[in-house]
């Protein structure tokens, strides 16, 4: 023994021994643990537990002096949906306990999840409404704020029409708030609204929905426990979705293979069996290179393709001709052997899954990349299979929900679109006359999709005659959205200068406040909204499960809930009565806060409307029951075995068809024919007709969900089909009345869905997935070089699209930009790509204001390969200038590392608060600046937008890095 202390009495010094004997517990702890089952039972217990989870013993504290409440909520950062038990004493959030019962996260948190209690302090929050006066932010009252902002909006509506205002909503809103905001903008008379999904997974949603029906992750994080091989391409899950790795690493322990394909050797790659480095922006070439080997070796699932896939033969011809191994290597820089190895691992370890994120979506050809991923999975027969799937990890906590039911410019909630029929459906749900809705809009604008958040700056700066709406944008409302997440920041401040008014509604002033104050003297309002911990509501995780958040604390400072502000502005703008008439109005904090519609009543309206995607069965009551009984759900299947939720899947993952009373269990894995529809099974959606050029688009004979009375393909259900099948009489009299003339999407009684399902049929039909999406610019995904390409030689072979004149209301350039910059790589030879850090999220103002997180990453940086650094005389950890073709220059620290290959550089996108070398601290409202500030990569990103959804290109552009002269 090294110690000088004596071994008796646990080695305590005499003084301590006195203490411990007097106060008992030290000696008793172990006995206590033992009695509580932790120690004694744990050995046997742990051998059955797949995760090695340590279970907490119940708290046995006797008399507690303070009254304590525990509220179960869900982390507000990423889309995994980790549960939190927030302990509140006398109204103060004092502790955060992990929820081992949650089947999604089993008590685990990443760094951001572990830090959420800071929201209970909100030291650097926006504390009261503020207004920019003479270049400085001044405090104002809520009355003044609502009146001044409201009056200006009304004046602009009168002068320039309702489309002159742009509403940027939020993926941080709950489902109820997102839905209400889309309703709000509709009642205001515009489609000019959007949210983070545009710049996150819009290409995925469009690409995937057009391939097989729904624009969402097909399986779940949990289902990755069942996979035999996972291919991550364009996903850094270890940093962006850390708790998802809990499931993947466990699968890996039980034998699953893991492949990571990325230009950067990420922390996810560090855990992979195989890492493949490809050139940024060449995913189509790589994936079709994989497909080449699949076809070449006959590894495709021929029966599956025959029964369930349309157009694979055409894709095959294209791939075998164009993506021979030499071409793949030429474009991606990946050797043939590696491509073949990936193909073989995916083919011989089925079910295999494919994971992608922003690495695929944020490109001018993002829609093609995601479809190439879909096609690989279809060829292998991996879709609709547990352990397989397209596991598309969404970003924000509720970006899936906001996409489903929130402020999208091209659709009303539930992907109904903006056609007359859709408006009529919603007019009925909202209980307002369709004609009244029409009057709110400028003539001809009601059925025209709005501008996208990625292009709002062009809505301001573009010449009026080139814009497909009456007026340019005159005002913008950032309702929970960062500006530094959008590209072309240098032009953004020009747009900010030009606007009549900028409104920020956010718990934090956000980078908008500082950027606007840098270029303006007035016309900016900052309104403090509260976080999701200060209200209640539902949130949709990436796997489509809905979870209910309880309110943890009352709104801090002068902040108000978003739904209260929507109600207040609706009243001010003159449509409050119509918009709020279906809701219970409540005041959870008495007169201290504004009146608001209750989240429960909003969700019930949402349930009554959203038949298309099965958001109808998730009543607040069912969701709350799930939250209380999380322990009854299985981790691998997400299914409750016994208990009050018996048979349900956790969080009733959409589609959860029919009314809540029908008790559809939710759909854990989409398009899964091994289960009956009423048990959460399905098939591909019949959304594209029944045949094309004489080729059948419906599923072949013998391909149908388990237990279906129709054993072949069929179109979607409507009143005519029900009658033809002789099933009309299965409807109740009330249902018949509601269903007459309707289809499964518009029948407000849910009768058509119910009857289809009692016959084992899928309400949306039974069709084939489309490998060939004829309504997209490239029906078969094609590789096209990015607008700013490091390879002029390949621009010749793989040119981009032609320019578009009016695309989402704006002219959009492709070829002219690419041609003009064909040789720009001589001056800017390095590829600049961007991505996430685990400590921060999104634009980062919220997380960089949290001292627990800020301490861990205090400076922005650029990763550069040692070769490129040495060629430029750049040393590790010194400041450099990153310059891009936009003329922007960023001052950041160099991280010299092999993480990036030669020719590639990487910057995280969470920073803001520096502007081209200058700290913007003075432009923030006093006391409400983020602790850590740095250059926003998007200050310097270049032009470029996806050819279907207007997704911005942030993953492949060019830069130069220069040593800073002392």
């Amino acid at each position: 023994m090294l110690t000088r202390k004596n071994a008796g009495a646990a080695g305590a010094s005499p003084r301590l021994r006195r203490l411990s004997t007097a106060k008992v517990p030290t000696m008793d702890r172990r006995m206590f643990l033992k009695r509580s089952g932790l120690v004694a039972g744990a050995g046997a217990f742990a051998s059955q537990l797949p995760y090695g989870t340590m279970q907490t013993a119940p708290v046995a504290n006797a008399a507690e002096a303070v009254k304590r409440e525990v509220h179960r909520t869900v982390c507000t950062h990423c889309s995994v949906g980790c549960s939190i038990d927030a302990v509140v004493e006398n109204g103060v959030w004092v502790r955060h306990e992990p929820v081992f019962d949650s089947p999604l996260n089993l008590g685990a948190h990443c760094v951001k999840g572990a830090s959420v209690r800071e929201h209970g302090h909100g030291e650097f929050r926006l504390k009261s409404p503020m207004k920019l006066v003479g270049g400085k932010y001044q405090k104002i009252t809520w009355d003044q704020a609502i009146n001044e902002v409201g009056d200006k909006i009304l004046a602009l509506k009168k002068e320039a029409g309702p489309d002159s205002i742009y509403w940027v909503g939020s993926s941080k809103h709950s489902n109820e708030q997102s839905y209400l905001l889309r309703k709000f903008v509709s009642f205001f008379g515009s489609n000019n609204c959007d949210h983070q999904a545009r710049i996150c997974h819009s290409t995925t949603v469009a690409g995937v929905a057009n391939t097989w029906g729904y624009g969402a992750m097909t399986n779940s994080y949990n289902d990755m426990n069942n996979t035999k091989c996972a291919l991550y391409i364009g996903s850094n899950a270890a940093e962006a979705h850390p708790v998802s790795m809990l499931h993947m690493l466990h699968a890996k322990e039980t034998g699953a293979k893991m492949i990571v394909v990325d230009p950067r050797f990420t922390r996810t790659a560090a855990h992979a069996d195989v890492y493949v480095r490809l050139r940024s922006g060449t995913d189509v070439a790589f994936l079709f290179g994989v497909l080449y080997h699949i076809f070449d070796n006959g590894w495709e699932d021929k029966q599956y393709i025959n029964d369930r896939v349309y157009g694979m033969d055409k894709v095959r011809e294209d791939v075998m001709a164009k993506w021979t191994p030499d071409k793949v290597t030429e474009v991606c820089g990946v050797p043939e052997a590696q491509v073949r190895q990936v193909a073989e691992m995916m083919a011989k370890n089925r079910p295999s899954t494919l994971v992608w994120c922003m690495g695929q979506t944020q490109h001018t050809i993002g829609n093609a990349m995601v479809r190439a991923s879909c096609i690989v999975q279809l060829a292998l027969g991996n879709i609709g299979v547990s352990g397989g799937g397209a596991n598309i990890f969404r970003g924000h906590d509720n970006v899936q929900g906001a996409t489903d039911v929130g402020p999208n410019p091209d659709s009303l909630p539930g992907y109904y679109g903006v056609s007359a029929g859709s408006w009529k459906h919603y007019a009925a749900v909202w209980n307002v006359p369709y004609e009244w809705m029409q009057q709110q809009f400028a003539p001809g604008m009601m059925e025209k999709p709005g501008l996208t958040v990625s292009r709002w700056i062009d809505g301001v700066l573009e010449q009026n005659e080139h814009i497909d709406q009456p007026s340019n944008l005159r005002a913008i409302v950032f309702w929970g959205h960062a500006p530094n997440s959008q590209s072309r920041g240098k032009e953004m401040v020009e747009a900010m200068k030009k606007l009549d008014m900028i409104v920020v509604i956010d718990p934090y002033p956000s980078a908008t406040a500082a950027m606007a104050a840098m270029v303006r003297k007035d016309g900016v309002y900052l309104l403090p909204a509260c976080t999701q911990f200060e209200t209640s509501g539902s949130v949709t995780a990436s796997n489509r499960s809905l979870q209910w958040r309880e309110r943890v604390i009352r709104p801090l400072f002068e902040s108000q809930t978003d739904q209260a502000l929507m109600a207040a502005f609706a009243r001010k703008l003159g449509f409050g009565e119509q918009m709020l008439k279906n809701y219970d109005m409540v005041k959870p904090d008495g007169d201290a806060k504004m009146e608001e519609p209750s989240p429960e009543s909003i969700l019930k309206e949402l349930n009554r409307a959203n038949w298309t995607i099965g958001y109808t069965g998730q009543s607040p009551e069912r969701l709350k029951l799930h939250m209380k009984n999380q322990h009854t759900f299985d981790v691998k299947t997400l299914r409750a075995n016994g208990g009050p939720c018996d048979g349900d899947y956790y969080g009733l993952p959409w589609p959860c068809y029919g009314t809540p009373e029908l008790k559809h269990p939710g759909s854990p894995n989409l398009y899964d024919q091994s289960k009956s529809v009423m048990q959460g099974g399905g098939c591909f959606r019949a959304n594209f007709g029944v045949e094309r050029d004489g080729v059948n688009l419906l599923a072949e004979d013998g391909s149908y969900p388990k237990g279906s009375e129709l054993t072949t393909g069929y179109p979607e259900f409507d009143h005519v089909l029900l009658k033809k099948l002789g099933w009309w009489e299965d409807l109740t009299e009330a249902e018949k009345k509601a269903a007459e003339g309707k289809n499964w999407k518009t029948d407000l009684s849910g009768g058509i869905q119910r009857v289809a399902m009692i016959h084992g049929c899928h309400p949306f039909g039974n069709a084939k997935a489309r490998a060939l999406v004829w309504n997209f610019p490239d029906a078969i995904p094609q590789h096209r070089e990015p607008l700013y390409s490091p390879r002029p030689d390949l621009i010749e072979k793989y040119p981009t699209h032609d320019d578009k004149k009016a695309f989402w209301r704006l002219p959009t350039l492709y070829k002219s930009v690419q041609e003009k910059n064909k040789n720009i790589s001589q001056q800017f030879p390095l590829v600049l790509t961007s991505g996430r850090l685990v400590e921060y999220e999104g634009g980062g103002e919220e997380t960089r204001s949290n001292p627990w997180l800020a301490e861990l990453k205090q400076e922005c940086f650029v990763e550069i390969n040692p070769k490129d650094a040495n060629d430029r005389g750049v040393r590790h950890d010194e400041y450099v200038w990153v310059t891009t073709p936009t003329g922007a220059q960023l001052k950041v620290k160099a991280q010299v590392t092999d993480r990036v290959g030669a020719g590639t550089t990487f910057m995280p996108f969470h920073f803001s608060g520096w502007w081209m070398g200058k700290d913007m601290l003075e432009y923030y409202p006093e006391g409400a600046h983020p602790i850590v500030r740095g250059e926003a990569v998007n200050t310097a990103t270049t032009y470029g937008y996806d050819s279907v959804t207007m997704m911005q290109e942030t993953k492949t552009t060019l830069c130069q890095i220069e040593k800073m002269s002392a």
Binding site: L2, K5, R29, L33, G52
Partner: protein, 221 residues
Amino acid sequence: MARMKFICDAERCIECNSCVVACKQEHNIPWGVNRRRVVTLNDGVPGERSISAACMHCSDAPCMAVCPVDCFYKTADGVVLHDKDLCIGCGYCFYACPFGAPQFPQDGAFGLRGKMDKCTFCAGGPEPDGSEAEFQKYGRNRLAEGKLPACAEMCSTKALLGGDGDVLADIYRQRAMARGKGSEVWGWATAYGRPEGKPSAPRPQDKPGPKAPANGNGGKS
């Protein structure tokens, strides 16, 4: 005897830092003091691995051995704790500790850095369990509440495990067996060498017979 231990499974650690923040928020630790941190080897190249490190609550704790004022003590659960009222901030423990566990609130020479602070295995200090005085000096006492350390409970991938060494050894062994590798990472042979060309020696607890103490160093204490 239960002996509380941490183990960090490098095959699972993804360097997410949740353990660092779990600790900070549970105990309200100020900026600059880190009872726990994540260390990465081979950063950015194949073979990159991370582990979370804090006080390892050593069986033979060097900090205890060198402390001139004898402020350390060990609980019946094997947790190494200290008494801030006795600590003089000399920093000897910091020099002695192979893991860099002891932290000081300020920079400076002897006597100027303030009272030493370190991981308590969420077991507080000498004051009465759960008392305000204990909370102010050492943070929460989760063990007294029947809970395990916050860092391990919140670990994103269950890489960091904290609890009775016997239980942890079982869990880790199970994982290592499932993976078919990894048992060579820890233990006596790794720490103190093994004969050239020979595989790592089987650990005592892998053999049938009476159960050996699973304290991670091959049965020697």
